[in-house]
Symmetry: C2
């Protein structure tokens, strides 16, 4: 186990009706609230929108709405928000939505207290060491951004999608009412589940030895998702299954599962670049990439992949052929994802495969990626080609 | 799953050498530090003591030592600390030790900002809503107090041992270096492990349905303790095993495993009263009580106890006789604890059993205890008699 520092102060408010607390939770931070959301008719006519606005007004808060967040949140909208925050001296940013709205809010929070260009934070030119406080009312469980330190922003100028990570970006609270997610359609729910599982697996697959507790916590989280995700697709109003998914999605990315480990993140790295080129949902890029990545790297740590097969998928350990066990786990994952209806190849997802070389080049621009096995340009290209 | 609110902002600094950060971590809170510890020769001659003092001095902090904490920390020492804090205008309390020192520090922290008698907080006469900041350098992993909200203090005037729980009492940081625990002798290590397991099981055994994720997290934590605790007893300098135990002990009581559940806590309730009468180590009262409590209550939730047997102890599920499976799990726990050398009966622990009725009376003074099965005076007495 590696040395580590861990802190996550996000206050979680979980369950039915918890959105009624939103005004009260914001009050200690000030009066002027930037209310950030998608802004389409669906959200404006939703019960959750009405209840949040009601709670904000009841607490006497002044609301400044900023709408029009896109699925891959863009820098131009972030800049619009920063300008609004500075002009109106906003005290607090409230995100109503999923990962895109939350990430956009985090970026606005950083930019609002910084004199330079917020993009500097994402290019690592200047790490911003403070933020306006951000709160979240979650409408879809997937990215775990509601209590994570990171945010992913796309700079339209060049399709560059970059991650900025910073403890100051952790939301001060996250309100998670599973009922609110009942209306999330099947496909976003499925790719959201893939993203969660990927968050766990990026941490699980490591060459760091002696990480038994977090190994087992990862396995517990994966099994819970595997057990409950299909139930949410079958019956969208299954409160119990939704509850498990909402909580698992949060745990998958709140930092607990990282402790003492060296995560991999190769699939996420490739996914971000691939997503910038294709506009595929983040989870769809991951469902395509992950099993192919696994097949490419598992030789580097057969025992870990065999453990995954045994403990997550109940596959019997074959002492004479641990490789066979390992491959069985990868196959089980693929079969499970196939059942969810998410794409497993680029062709299936309708992606033009002309630019794979360019993508591979961008992935390793700052050096090789991954930990289980270090991936250079050629490796990334091999994986992408296998994904065709 | 029940609605819940969860927040734990304690910063964890885990690993070799992390105590070097202690001065730096305290600096933002002020200059005057109450340094609270056992104060015996063992601690004063220890490497960790020297390194902590060095770090405090290097950061230019002013140290006020308060020593002489007892295994069941007492109110008189707490009051001494409060007086010192008020007189010297202390900014920060640093606990170097295990649960006793940490709990004593938490109580001092509460009392230092309160004009009345700090005991009011423990009797629930007045809940103190703030605290001086407390930081921890952990020397024994057991109680999980290093990031929990609670503290247990004994009022010598009547042997009353009470729990006060309050988010404001969570330490602002906890430094956990497994090497520091190498010198913990076998018995405290074993009963500490029992306490950890009990913290998990008090949460695990609940009648709250639909708590799959936290069920699995509890099982993951228990399996990790079961796998590593004997290794720490066999080889005290096994850094990897100690690391797992230190992290599991923290997770067992940091609040994550509570989320959405109704915990039981009957064994802890009885343990606190029993401890006040016998001065047995907290973990020893739990190793005696828990299996007998289980045998007394398992009928109320056979499926949960059977799940415990299957998932924690790898016992095969007997569909025709789930009760048999459940009892198998209880027996496996008892066998495991026997192997650690902790007492399983009051007689074995040399306890005079004259006062069991009085103990049972005190346990239910404020009403029945427990959740899996509500225990009234007669039930508590039955369990205590079974423990003889």
């Amino acid at each position: 186990m590696k040395n580590y520092k861990f802190q996550n102060a996000t206050k979680i408010l979980f369950g039915r009706g918890m959105e009624q607390c939103v005004g009260e939770e914001i009050l200690p931070y000030g009066k002027k609230v930037l209310f950030h959301h998608y802004g389409d008719d669906f959200i404006r006519n939703s019960e959750i929108y009405k209840r949040v606005v009601h709670s904000l007004k009841e607490s006497g808060l002044e609301i400044f709405e900023l709408t029009g967040v896109q699925p891959n949140p863009v820098l131009s909208k972030v800049k619009e928000g920063i300008e609004l925050c500075k002009r109106e001296k906003i005290d607090f940013i409230l995100a109503l939505g999923g990962g895109s709205v939350i990430d956009s809010s985090k970026a606005i929070g950083l930019g609002a207290v910084y004199d330079g260009d917020v993009w500097d934070h994402y290019t690592k030119k200047h790490i911003i060491q403070e933020s306006l406080p951000v709160g979240v009312v979650l409408t879809i469980a997937a990215t775990g951004s509601e209590s994570s330190a990171g945010s992913v922003i796309t700079n339209e100028d060049g399709h560059i999608k970059l991650l900025g990570s910073n403890g100051h970006s952790r939301p001060v609270f996250a309100i998670m009412n599973p009922e609110v997610t009942f209306t999330v359609p099947r496909y976003p729910m499925a790719v959201g589940g893939v993203d969660m599982m990927s968050h766990v697996m990026e941490r699980y697959f490591t060459n760091e030895p002696n990480v038994e507790l977090t190994d087992r916590l990862c396995e517990a989280t994966l099994r819970t998702i595997i057990n409950n995700l299909p139930r949410t697709l079958e019956n969208p109003a299954d409160y119990n299954a939704r509850s498990e998914i909402v909580c698992a999605g949060n745990l998958a990315h709140n930092g607990v599962l990282d402790c003492g480990r060296t995560p991999d993140w190769a699939c996420h790295f490739i996914s971000h670049i691939l997503g910038g080129f294709t506009n595929l949902a983040h989870g769809a890029t991951l469902s395509i990439l992950t099993p192919h990545w696994m097949e490419y790297v598992y030789h580097a740590n057969v025992e870990k992949f065999a453990q995954f097969a045994v403990r997550v998928w109940d596959i019997e350990y074959d002492e004479k052929a641990p490789e066979k066990t390992a491959l069985g786990g990868i196959e089980a994952l693929r079969t499970f994802w196939k059942g969810l209806g998410v794409p497993l190849t680029l062709t299936e997802a309708g992606v033009n495969c002309d630019q794979l070389e360019k993508i591979a080049e961008l992935v390793v621009e700052d050096g090789p990626v991954g930990n289980v096995r270090k991936l250079y340009k050629e490796d990334v290209l091999n994986i992408l080609k296998a994904c065709v």
